[in-house]
Symmetry: C2
Subunit: 182 residues, 2 copies
Amino acid sequence: MPGVGPRSAERIALWMVQSRRDQPEQISEAIANTRQAVHPCKLCGFFAVEELCEICRDTSRPRDVLCIVEQATDILPLERTSAFRGRYHALGGRISPLDHVAPEDLRIRELLDRVEIEKFAEIIFALAADVEGEATTNYLVDLLKDKPLTLTRIAHGLPAGGGLESADELTLYQALTGRTKL
Amino acid sequence: MPGVGPRSAERIALWMVQSRRDQPEQISEAIANTRQAVHPCKLCGFFAVEELCEICRDTSRPRDVLCIVEQATDILPLERTSAFRGRYHALGGRISPLDHVAPEDLRIRELLDRVEIEKFAEIIFALAADVEGEATTNYLVDLLKDKPLTLTRIAHGLPAGGGLESADELTLYQALTGRTKL
């Protein structure tokens, strides 16, 4: 389990064997239930207990904006910002030839189907600001550029609270070239 | 001197006293010469050996774009990006009531004089992405908004190489709200 080293593992193992109460059984059951109950949402790939996740089932959210992310886990920090209220689509990774991840391995077919059916007005690319993230964004932009919708990308630039002296060269370059009107 | 702790200081002090060659004298002279020769550029506040710095004297650089920074040292990383070729103006700090820095303590009068004389087409604000940086930007925007020029700000968002999981909430918020068209 992530974050559990050899010493913690030994402590947990001893507790499992020696515990007089039924906490270990309860945890075992909870893990089994979670594994059984939670699966990827059919539509967006986020965590769901029914066929669709809570975000896709929420009728109060706008249906005209889609935000594309790499992983389902990327949806959590975006939701915490409250800056976005539309729909999501998790690709399940990013194109990375070095890790043998090709476009066919991602949920791109599902994305194109959604674009045809759901008629979005805007698609926001919120992939990582690194080489593979940029390559995946460019690949998808190529597939989507002729559709009647606006394609946008989250801003790349100076992170919040950062001064110029702590920013690397590429970040400053992107901050300068991506400057916005005031 | 920055980066010199008590142990290093002691080592340097002993070397100064014990050295048989005239290196300590040479260093002393170099420090004195640098102090005497280098001073802030009359125009932009960057380091200069003549009245104007090398950037202000460079006639090959465009004269129609001005980039406002907090400190003269902020010009160095911006120059390394090669994304900007215009002129600079270092304020000498940022407005910060907690540190007793008021607008009068900054080179704002000089900035307004330059705007009148040099007739820039665009002014880029490249201040830190924190509270004081934003406040100083807003203060200057208020002073300059009625002038016939475009005011822009370097992009705030995801730093280069960063994934969504490593970005803080405010950075993601700014990245989403400041998204750019593709």
